[in-house]
Amino acid sequence: MIIADLSNRELTRILNGPGLRWGSGPFSIHLKNSIPNFTDYLSLIYGGHPVIEEPWEDIADFHIQLTTNSNYRRFWKPQVFFQLDGVNHLAPFPKDHAPPMFEWGWNFSIAGRANHFLILHNAVIAKGDRAMLLPGIPGSGKSTLCAAMVLRGWRLLSDEFALLHPESGLVFPTARPIALKNQSIEIIREFSKDAILGPDFAKTRKGTVAHMRPPDDSIKNMDQVAKPTWVVSPHYQEGQNQILEQIPKEHAFLLVAANAFNYETLGDAGFKAVARVVKESTIFNFRYSNLEEAVETLEIMTNNDKKGLAP
């Protein structure tokens, strides 16, 4: 069963009662919720994810609850709280911003707990089992490029985290939604009619945010790990001529390591994992302004690169 198989009424009942469990790659999540408009979001954006049905035999990785105020604030600018294991870890958002609260809270949870992975702040997409990592600071165009590539047939592993398994050197998918911000929302709507976007949430800390539903194929294949083959650091700038240039490996190492949440925490395992990515991948800086051309350029580059393909 997938989440979309549940009626809105049934989903609401489960979220208000025992909670809903579903799988997201290597993680399972257990969510309780009492925010009314959140159910529509969950059904639309996470509709393709597999429900873990009772009896629950495995431990959930994340026990999350979205709650609202129990005092007078229920009536005056009500808020939504993100609880992980019953504790409020984050400052509340306005109640009608439950979806971005949930997404950022879950990101926070993964970043703080999944230390069996080297967690890189990258979007990750794949063709077959060859993965492209897209590191980038906020505003670099990472999510926009990721969404565009996915809408052209690439498999989405994650918009937020490259979960790099230190021993195998492979990336684990989570197939969670892509968080688009500000102008990117309209750009992606115009880029493809296949994009399924949730509602816009205005005036968040990052401006207006909307979430793109992961393609069903990406969800179905979210147990399929991928090997880092390319690292492309995007830099969107209006009017910029397109330049795709390789980065020297020694500098690429610092680029990859600096984008990790837990590089220091993992110690030598983190060092070895980054070294492996850098040695086995081709690493680029990518400056662009035209999204269509950018996607085409990366398609051509990857199609011409036979590295990692079976002979």
């Binding site: 020297p248 020694e250 500098h251 190492f253 590089y263 110690g267 070294a275």
Partner: protein
Amino acid sequence: MNISQETQWIVPQRCSLLWEQFENGCLIFNPLSGTTHLLFDPALEILKLLEQKPMTAQTVIQSLDLALESKAQNSEVLANIWKIIIDLDRLGIIQPLFLETTKNKQTPTS
């Protein structure tokens, strides 16, 4: 003891540095501090020498086998090597040999 030009330097015995050599530089991971450093020559060559055995700045120069033609040249190079050694010390990658010896002597009674 104070640091001087006679001080011998060494990579601490309990510090097993991890090395990843790339075309134009080398990444070093120091497990004692958990830090990573990108080193180029000549710092890289100096570190490789000090990982093998303790050396003073002057013996480092001799080991580098530089074609120095005058005392003035030697003084200039010595000053530069000394600066690199002090930088490596500040990064916690090397230390004076007397600290290593003191540590070893203290270990049985501590």
